[in-house]
């Protein structure tokens, strides 16, 4: 078998920070290659160069033996490279067929009109081969996340891509959708396509890839056949240290006095009769599948969304509805699940982002003059304590950071308020092992300082690893509360699926 793709000494710098520092490796034809590394290790940058989104500062690439330097995604597509992004790039208001044909609509007998029939007919067999049982004229917004991903794959196949990059394809998929994706990956491989598979879920990488490439700090730190490397060794190569401890030791025990008390919280169709409490020094885990109402409940607690009935109180005093401001005044903090849309001001400096919530504390006199110097210093201290990787936090915009570092900015913004109750909705989604460990440590530190933490997650292992108790939600209701001594993956999953609960 030949070499499909070759990277030779690729360099890339942003803002004085080195993103890629001489990356060289080869990918064999018809192989599925796992690309792993912590956030900020350079995976996305490398793939953006491969996909024509970014140009390298140095080094060269070859594809099928010929020099390859795409200056835009279209160049890459013409050479048979397709990039399936983590945040899918589909037009949800258009049909499946229109999305697939977006660059090359067939015209109706040389008129400027689009030949819809031809477009739809030509795709039927393709969709069928992917087990996507919809008419090509179905609008994409009616599809589930997993199905949308299949549309992206169909698009890649339709453009006859022989090198397909998957960036974190399973983050928004259910277990069943993930299985289906793996079947399709197998199918693609048997058709002779080369696949680059980026993921933080090492079990998946182990299961479906032929080779694993590990990146750390812009360098290749591991390159081996998947069969010859075990997961702990992968982690080792990613973080550069032995890490048999994925979770920090909890440093204090929860107290008896409750901070947050939720009583029969209801909003028809979303949550029903939710009761629970978070105590001082406690990390309360909330587990539930997608659509279980966990995110919606968190938004009600914080006052972003409203609810029909029930009560929410902090330290014994009820909280007014629908006012994030009063929630913040009472010491609540909320790390939302989507940092891009609801967490960050992307093109604003990091310190400004960290200072946003605490601004009123840094204001003097009647006109509310902001003491920028003091605020920047404080934000800098927070940034340091979170080991934020940035070259100039006063000038560098949040969008120039990697995913894990962006998440740290969001967390830092709330740590600066010294929260009494921190709600975190999927805080470790899409971030790497090292950053995850740091997020858990922050939770532990806060809990040791007598704050309460509501930790929402769909990864049951991390809840077991860090939480004191776990509330399981399903269909908008609390199914069961697990004490630490009863933690068990199977039992938690069963509760989330409402099996064997009685």
């Amino acid at each position: 078998m030949g070499i499909k793709l070759k990277f030779n000494n690729i360099q890339k710098h942003f803002f004085g920070v080195t993103a890629l520092d001489g990356v060289s490796f080869e990918i064999e034809e018809k192989h599925t290659v796992g690309l792993i590394g912590e956030n900020g290790a350079g995976k996305s940058t490398l793939m953006n160069i491969l996909g024509g989104v970014l140009l390298p500062d140095g080094g060269n690439m070859s594809l099928d033996g010929d020099a390859y330097l795409p200056s835009n995604p279209r160049d890459a597509a013409q050479r048979g490279v397709a990039f399936i992004h983590q945040e899918l790039n589909l037009f949800t208001n258009l049909s499946i067929a229109e999305n697939i044909y977006i660059n090359s609509f067939p015209s109706l007998k040389k008129t400027p009109l689009i030949d819809k029939k031809k477009m739809n007919d030509s795709l039927k067999s393709l969709l069928k081969s992917l087990d996507l049982n919809y008419s090509p004229s179905t609008t994409v917004e009616n599809l589930a996340p997993g199905e949308r991903q299949l549309v992206e794959i169909a698009k890649a196949l339709h453009s006859d891509a022989f090198l397909i990059i998957f960036d974190e394809p399973t983050t928004s998929l259910t277990a069943r959708e993930t299985e289906k994706l793996f079947t399709i990956l197998d199918q693609l491989r048997s058709e002779g396509r080369t696949i680059i598979y980026i993921s933080h879920i090492l079990g998946e990488v182990k299961r479906i890839t032929d080779d694993v490439i590990v990146l750390r700090d812009g360098k290749v730190t591991g390159n081996s056949e998947t069969g010859l490397i075990e997961i702990p060794e992968m982690i080792n190569q990613m973080v550069g240290r032995e890490s048999d401890n994925l979770f920090p030791e909890r440093s204090a025990k929860p107290k008896d006095s409750p901070i947050l008390e939720v009583k029969s919280l209801s909003q028809p169709g979303i949550v029903g009769n939710v009761d629970f409490s978070v105590h001082e020094g406690e990390v309360l885990g909330v587990f539930g599948l997608m659509g279980s109402g966990r995110t919606e409940m968190a938004r009600m607690l914080f006052g972003v969304d409203t609810y029909r009935s029930g009560s929410i109180s902090i330290d014994g005093t009820p909280l007014p509805r629908n006012s994030p401001q009063s929630s913040i005044e009472r010491g609540m903090a909320f790390v939302t699940e989507n940092r891009r849309e609801e967490g960050l001001l992307m093109n604003v400096a990091i310190t400004e982002n960290i200072g946003l919530v605490s601004l009123p504390d840094y204001c003097r006199n009647l006109v509310k003059w902001v003491d920028a110097k003091r605020m920047n210093e404080e934000a800098g201290i927070i940034g340091d304590s979170l080991k934020l990787k940035a070259s100039d936090i006063r000038r560098q915009p949040a969008m120039s950071l990697s995913g894990g570092n962006q998440q740290k900015v969001v967390i830092g913004k709330w740590l600066m308020t010294k929260p009494r109750l921190l709600i975190m909705d999927e805080p470790t989604r899409g971030i790497d092992v090292g950053a995850k460990y740091e997020v858990y440590s922050i939770m532990d530190r806060l809990a040791a300082d007598n704050s309460g933490i509501l930790f929402i997650s769909s990864e049951v292992e991390e809840l077991i690893g860090i939480a004191d108790r776990i509330v399981v939600m399903s269909q908008g209701e609390v199914v069961k509360v697990f004490e630490k001594k009863d933690f068990d993956v199977t039992a938690l999953m069963a509760a989330a699926f409402r099996e064997a609960v009685a």
Binding site: V53, V304, E342, L359, W369, A372, K413
Partner: protein, 362 residues
């Protein structure tokens, strides 16, 4: 850096880097103004005559005040089309309060005749309270219309364009109805001084405009309100979750816009020495155009008072030089329109450049 940059080393590269620096500079529009004037100077030497400079500057102050008000709204990703009707309505109300005699032949059909207006003038005709009351009422009208706009946009979630387009039509029509389309003259001397008088060697209008510009600059760049204004413009959802009272911030922006329009209305009315129901009705292009030229983004979240100042200065010189060239009014408007279009295109180019050289993902 890209592969293109690597090829262009040496002198060519230096020129490129200098060009990029100028293009990305905060003072870009100022450089552009100077360049433009230097190019035109050989053709119209009159442009630098003391008379012309004085004329240009006297046009600058009121427009600057109004344009700064607009900047606040643009930063929230809104737009305020009603500023011109604020000017007209406050001009009429101010005149009705301050005028010392009204001609029944012209104004007796006004709905205000006999209530606020008679042949002996307005409510406060001839009293020393006329000026302060007149000014207060004019500013209050601006703030009120602004509050109505802001409430509709932020609380009722209506699109800013429609809200302010409607209030522009509505209040402009009210101004014409109340005055029966007549100008109201005989305003007190103390009022006209605001538009034409000097304080020592310095025009009073200049002092007012500078006070407003400096306060607006400090408000935007140094205060809690300013920081929250930008946060609201950039990402209202993230801002709200971070405890920013976005509704209040937006309402305040429209109120400030109304207030500034009213102050601009005061300066114009004082210069014309009359309350005029059509005041400002050709000014909208200049207000928005000056902001766009200055680099204030219509998408919100981006802009500074200094940029607005440069935009206004450029726009006024543009109008002035086109006038001096004896061009027909339609030619002037064609050129103005093209320049605004160019400015909008340039803004896109500049922000993409800025993004590329700040390490952001494109």
């Amino acid at each position: 850096m890209s592969k293109v940059d690597q090829l262009n080393t040496g002198r060519v590269g230096n020129v490129k880097i200098l060009g990029r620096k100028i293009l990305l500079s905060e003072f870009f529009v100022l450089y552009l103004t100077v360049f433009y004037l230097l190019v035109l100077f050989p053709f119209i030497p009159r442009v630098f005559s003391p008379y012309n400079i004085k004329n240009v500057l006297s046009n600058t102050w009121p427009l600057l005040v109004i344009a700064i008000g607009q900047t606040f709204v643009l930063i929230t990703a809104g737009i305020d089309l009603s500023q011109t009707s604020v000017m007209a309505l406050s001009s009429i109300f101010g005149a009705v309060i301050m005028t010392s005699e009204a001609d029944p032949a012209l104004l007796s059909k006004s709905p205000l005749w006999g209530i606020m207006l008679s042949d002996k003038g307005g409510l406060f005709a001839g009293t020393s309270a006329a000026l302060p009351v007149g000014l207060l009422v004019m500013m209050a009208i601006g703030i009120m219309i602004g509050l109505i706009n802001g409430f509709s946009v932020a609380k009722l979630r209506m699109p800013p364009f429609i809200v302010t387009l409607v209030s522009q039509m509505f209040f402009a029509a009210v101004a014409i109805w109340l005055s029966k389309s007549e100008n109201i003259r005989h305003l007190p001397e103390s009022f006209s001084r605001l538009g034409r008088g000097n304080f020592g060697p310095i025009p009073i209008a200049l002092i007012i405009a500078v006070i407003i510009a400096v306060s607006a600059h400090l408000l935007m760049s140094r205060t809690l309100y300013g920081r929250r204004l930008y946060a609201t413009g950039i990402n209202p959802r993230a801002a709200r979750i971070s405890g920013v009272p976005t509704t209040k911030i937006i309402i305040a922006a429209y109120a400030l816009s109304g207030f500034c329009a009213a102050v601009g209305g005061i300066l114009y009315s004082a210069r014309l020495e009359q309350g005029r129901p059509t005041l400002g009705n050709t000014l909208l292009l200049d207000i928005i155009g000056a902001n766009v030229i200055g680099g204030i983004s219509l998408a919100g979240g981006k802009g500074k008072v200094l940029w607005t100042v440069f935009g206004v200065v450029f726009f006024i010189f543009l109008s002035n030089t086109l006038n001096l060239l004896n061009l027909k009014f339609f030619v002037i408007d064609i050129v103005k329109g093209l320049v605004i279009l160019l400015a909008a295109i340039l803004d896109v180019v500049r922000s993409q450049l800025a993004l590329r050289y700040s390490g952001g993902k494109v």
